[in-house]
């Protein structure tokens, strides 16, 4: 079962192509991470999925329905939290949580769940929204969304204002959602969060999906980092197929190698003699730097 599917989605704002043939698939029950540099089109995608924006072309379906035409029916079954939450200044946090949950279609939940969430997020529901800090405004929206029992949760940088403790609470909540079989789409700039939570990851850049798959898949596609103390001639090593960015200091060399070429490189090292060797998978960070970084190159070109 597919919870979210977009195909060849295009959305332009005047001359800006915010989405440029974007494909995304999220299966039911998955927690999908959504990453990309600033302005890549993450929020635009999510707002198309919510039917707030209307795509110029391409198709999108959410929970099997058209997100624009059936927006209301879709929204009954999902919950959404944006990264920049604006509240009514003279309502209290508690009132807003009740209001949002009621409009979502329940009676306001004064039950244990609401109290528990307020407690865990350390949110004082009696304060007027005008007096909340950015993080606290964010928490109001999170509590309201987590109070509702939805099939699909869309989070657009939901932790952008939260401190690390609160972020951990959020992480726990998402884990619980996953264990209960809910589907989650989470856009974030916090890689550790994505690494901890997400089954699959989609990287978007300039409105196109540049990478998609499980974290394992993504790592697989790429390069490993090698550090070695070796007698081998750095120039010869650098010339080997698949070796990139080699740096040599005395007898130590560091370089990246395409995973497909790794055995040839190991053979060359072995031949010259090696006294120390580490081969590490790329950290997510490196992975993203590479994807994000290319854009700077492309944009500069």
């Amino acid at each position: 079962m597919t919870a979210i599917r977009t195909e060849n989605l295009v959305k332009t704002f005047g001359t800006t192509r915010a989405l440029d043939g974007f494909d995304l698939t999220v299966e039911t029950g998955q927690v999908a991470g959504f990453l990309g540099p600033n302005g890549a089109g993450k929020s635009t995608t999510i707002r198309v999925l919510l039917g707030m924006l209307r795509a110029d072309s391409g198709s999108a379906s959410v929970l099997g329905m058209d997100p624009f035409r059936d927006a209301v029916a879709v929204h009954r079954r999902l919950a959404y939290v944006a990264g920049d939450v604006s509240l009514w200044p003279n309502l209290t946090g508690g009132e807003i949580v009740d209001l949002l949950t009621r409009i979502h279609g329940g009676t306001p939940r004064r039950d244990a769940r609401r109290a528990d969430l307020l407690d865990r997020f350390e949110l004082d529901p009696t304060k007027k929204a005008r007096t909340y800090s950015k993080g606290n405004r964010q928490k109001v929206a999170l509590v309201a969304a987590l109070c509702t029992d939805a099939e699909l949760y869309l989070f657009d940088e939901p932790t952008s204002g939260l401190d690390p403790l609160m972020e951990a609470v959020f992480t726990d909540e998402v884990r619980a959602l996953r264990d209960a079989g809910h589907t989650v789409l989470l856009s974030s700039h916090i890689l550790a969060e994505v690494e901890k939570l997400c089954d699959t990851v989609t990287i978007i850049r300039s409105g196109r999906a540049v990478e998609t798959g499980t974290l394992g898949d993504l790592r697989h596609l790429t390069r490993s980092s090698v550090t070695a103390t070796t007698a081998a001639d750095p120039a010869r090593l650098a010339a080997l197929p698949g070796v990139h960015d080699l740096v040599a200091e005395d007898a130590r060399v560091r370089f990246d190698v395409d995973d497909a070429e790794i055995s040839g490189v190991l053979a060359a090292l072995n031949e010259a003699g090696v006294s120390h060797l580490t081969v590490a998978p790329p950290s997510l960070e490196e992975l993203f730097m590479r994807h994000y970084g290319d854009e700077t190159v492309a944009a500069g070109a």
Binding site: Y80, A82, I103
Partner: protein, 533 residues
């Protein structure tokens, strides 16, 4: 789109919850004024002779601009008087209220991002705007009903009272619907309000000029929704059908609004945002540059509006001369010769244009509060700009813009008068005369500054003075208010140039008051906390 109205009821409840105080204030202000006016008129004009004398002076163009089509002037009953002299201000007030409320609940919410919060819930595409309009319609009906009851309570007849109440509600509704369209056109709440206010001003001028052309309403009057409410001939020879025009226009405007809303993205206007400069030009970086840039649109909008109004008013002087030719006694009757009458007319129009300059100045000063609460004031101050410099530069821009607008109003008025009457020196004389109102405008602006500096949460109260200035200018004389109360209005204190000499006494007093308020505001901002949300 399926279920485009889902959730409207809930949003309506939210709107009521948010506005309960605001509605109460509008209700008390409007209905209270009506309730107080009727008995006050009875006291001021106790018998038919007094009312008839009043009626005789209401046919000159400056009076017609500010009142209504002159029904029942030959038998000027209390009802006819209320209809003629109170109804226009009532209709304009509910129109302003409806525009403000509509924008507040539609584009402002959308611009702030709260509509996004709601539309992420099972809330239909049209629900937020529909809830806003039902809300505005409800408020108008309540105020209309209150008005009708207040008139009844004042002893006026039932049908006329009901009709005036309904006309009030329906006129508010029309302008709510106008705002429903302008909020679809632009992505910015301020611009949407401005556009709707321009429509209201145009309706006002069309009605006024139309009625000057023909005192019972010419074709031009009939283009104005304000006129439709007046054309019911309240308390004189009541007819209901003009209100159907208002309802029809409301329906048409709402249909247009829905049509515009249908395909548009949340948060967007009709056209995508354009890009701008990559780097600031040097003017933006000078001391007053930022204020000038942020206020640019407002200044241009008000200036253009005021000049157009001024020219229109000025050109009416012509019909004044015609009228004098027809009724030679008239000039003598109100104690003025021909030349003076034109001056008296110009003076009245000038004081009326000053309302606009004052409203601009107060609004522009209060933008400082918006800047501060939006956190942008903080950003400016954090760069090392002094608080005093930030506020003083801003205020200086407002003052200079106010001077320019006063002179432009005088020039426009003079241009109109000169074109209409051939008088050779009207332009220069009126442009200079207009500056007599500068101290009055400064008092209004400085009050806003003082409140902003000393008690920022109450800064909005500066609008009360503006409202009072307009109220006194409009119906103060009619109600025969005590001089003390009238004198709270700095415009009322200003000599009516060019008929009266610009006596320096009151002008100096006003300037001194403005100076004290300005200093208070500047000292206040140096001491208090900078607020941001």
């Amino acid at each position: 789109m399926r279920e485009p109205w889902a959730g409207t009821g809930q949003l309506l409840r939210l709107a009521l919850r948010r506005d309960r105080i605001r509605i109460l204030i509008w209700f008390v202000a409007i209905v209270g004024t009506v309730a107080a006016t009727v008995p006050a008129l009875e006291v001021a004009y106790p018998d038919a002779a007094a009312r008839q004398a009043r009626a005789a002076i209401l046919t000159n163009p400056s009076a017609v601009m500010m009142t209504g089509p002159a029904f029942g002037l030959d038998d000027y009953t209390l009802g006819a008087m209320v209809a003629n002299e109170l109804s226009l201000s009532l209709f304009v007030t509910v129109a302003v209220m409806s525009v403000l409320l509509t924008v507040r609940h539609t584009r402002s919410e959308e611009e702030a991002g709260r509509t996004e919060l709601l539309r992420g819930l099972p809330v239909g595409h049209y629900a937020p705007a529909t809830a806003a309009l039902v809300h505005v319609a409800g408020v108008n009906l309540v105020i209309g009903a209150g008005t009708a009851l207040a008139l009844l309570g004042g002893g006026l007849e039932v049908a006329g009272s009901a009709a005036m109440g309904l006309a009030t509600a329906v006129t508010g509704l029309v302008f709510g619907a106008v705002a429903a369209v302008t909020t679809q056109v632009t992505a910015h709440a301020r611009a949407a309000t401005g556009m709707a206010m321009v429509v209201l001003a145009a309706a006002f001028v069309a009605r006024g000029v139309g009625d000057v052309i023909d005192s019972q309403g010419s074709w031009l009057s009939w283009l104005s929704p304000l006129a439709w409410a007046q054309q019911t001939r309240l308390f004189v020879d009541l007819r209901w059908w003009p209100l159907a025009l208002s309802l029809a226009l409301t329906v048409v405007l709402l249909a247009v609004s829905v049509r515009l809303a249908r395909r548009r993205d949340l948060g967007a206007g009709l056209r995508p945002e354009r890009g701008g400069r990559a780097a600031a030009n040097p003017i933006l970086l000078s001391g007053q540059g930022l204020a000038l840039r942020l206020l640019r649109g407002t200044i241009i909008g008000w200036s253009v509006g005021l000049v157009l109004m001024a020219i229109t008013f000025g050109s009416l002087a012509n019909s004044l001369e015609d009228m004098l030719a027809e009724v030679p006694d008239l000039g003598a009757w109100i104690g003025m010769g021909g030349g003076d009458l034109i001056d008296a007319f110009a003076g009245a129009m000038l004081s009326f244009l000053v309302f606009g300059v004052g409203a601009f100045a107060v609004g522009a000063v209060l933008r400082l509060k918006t800047e501060e609460e939006g956190g942008r004031g903080e950003a400016v101050l954090a760069t090392g700009a002094s608080r005093l410099g930030w506020v003083a530069n801003w205020f200086a821009v407002v003052v200079v813009a106010s001077i320019v607008m006063l002179v432009l109003s005088g020039l426009g008025l003079g241009l109109g008068v000169q074109a209409a009457t051939g008088s050779a020196d009207a332009i220069g004389r009126l442009a200079v005369s207009s500056l007599a109102y500068l101290p009055a405008v400064l008092v209004m602006a400085a009050l806003a500054l003082a409140l902003f500096g000393l008690v920022p949460p109450l800064a909005g109260l500066a609008w009360v003075l503006v409202a009072w200035v307009v109220f006194v200018g409009w119906v103060g004389a009619l109600l025969d208010l005590p001089a003390g109360l009238m004198g709270i209005s700095p415009v009322d204190r200003t000599p009516t140039v060019p008929v009266e000499a610009a006596d320096p006494g009151p002008l100096l007093v006003l300037t001194a008051i403005a100076a004290v308020l300005t200093i208070g505001g500047l000292l206040g901002i140096r001491r208090r906390d900078i607020r941001s949300s």
